[in-house]
């Protein structure tokens, strides 16, 4: 079984699940995350209650990276296979990535005000995250200006999406390379600097946001394919009526 047929099989199975398995799964996971964040997780002594935003902010940031990696991978596949189904997946995951990026920037700004005293600072991690948001917003804007079946525009946008993903390691390494307001890594280290109760709730947050993003990518990709079908049908109707 080659990669395209494997992806096709997975997408067909996911297509069946998008209105049956995914909504209750996402709902239960998100509820578990909220209960864990607001009730089960211990209160952080220095920052107080606002630190509980971590359980939505950090998972959203990591899953946002994953969504943009899916965009870059689909863009590579589009350039390689010249199959517009990859463009639909790339656009869908970029849309979900931009949504999560906006949530990360907003929740971060709200968390920053009581912690740092400002909503926004031109700190390395905030600035590089804003650049990532602008890169993929520009990608989506460029794709929406061209038609859904415009192959040349899709290929140019794919190159842009692949280059844009380079910003992700810069965001991740920014706290090591430059002096920033963000703390050094405390979760993704061999010895996490968080108690086990917090790590467990954070893990639930990762599962919840992952399930949410996967479901949204399925729905959005379905929408992009429907948009491609509308364009193809319009062209066929025009052709028939002109003949």
């Amino acid at each position: 079984m080659n990669l395209s047929s494997l992806v096709g099989t997975v997408l067909a199975r996911a297509d069946q699940w998008r209105w049956t398995v995914m909504p209750p799964l996402v709902g239960v996971a998100m509820m578990a995350m909220i209960v864990g964040a607001l009730v089960a997780a211990p209160r952080e002594i220095v920052q107080g209650e606002v630190q509980r935003l971590m359980y939505i902010h950090v998972p959203s940031a990591v899953i946002m990276y994953a969504a943009f990696f899916v965009t870059a991978f689909s863009s590579v596949m589009l350039l390689w296979k010249r199959d517009m189904r990859w463009d639909a997946i790339a656009r869908a995951s970029a849309t979900v990535g931009v949504f999560l990026c906006a949530m990360v920037l907003l929740s971060g700004a709200i968390w920053g005000k009581p912690t740092w005293g400002v909503y926004w600072s031109w700190d390395a991690r905030l600035t590089s995250t804003l650049i990532l948001f602008l890169i993929y917003t520009a990608y989506l804007l460029a794709r929406s200006v061209a038609g859904p079946l415009d192959e040349q525009a899709a290929r140019y946008a794919a190159v842009f999406a692949i280059i844009g993903v380079v910003d992700i390691p810069i965001i991740q390494m920014s706290v090591r390379w430059w002096r920033t307001l963000h703390p050094q890594p405390t979760v993704f280290t061999p010895d996490p600097a968080l108690p086990n109760e917090m790590l467990l709730v954070l893990l639930i947050g990762f599962v919840a946001v992952f399930a949410l993003a996967a479901w949204l990518i399925m729905l959005q990709s379905d929408t992009e394919r429907a948009s491609q079908r509308v364009t193809a049908l319009r062209a066929e109707v025009d052709h028939r009526e002109m003949a």
Partner: protein
């Protein structure tokens, strides 16, 4: 319970954003589904309709008396 208003604001922004995203997505899916149905109906109608004869671009012009005489002479 210090800073609880910021905690509430952070979660509210996330849920409001998600709600708006889902509403917009659902509206787009509905519009595209309707459009696909409409276009498929039009396509089916155009397949059922027999091909029409090509319409003349201008209506036939009435001949002048001189042209009628010329045509009669050629016929003779």
């Amino acid at each position: 319970m210090e800073n609880i208003e910021y905690l509430f604001a952070g979660f509210a922004v996330f849920w409001a954003g998600l709600f708006i995203y889902l509403v917009l997505l659902q509206a787009r899916i509905r519009n595209l589904t309707r459009e696909i149905e409409r276009l498929e109906e039009r396509l089916a109608e155009s397949e059922d309709t027999p091909a029409r004869p090509a319409a003349p671009s201008t209506p036939p012009r009435e001949h002048t008396p001189a042209e009628r005489r010329e045509a009669a002479e050629q016929g003779a």
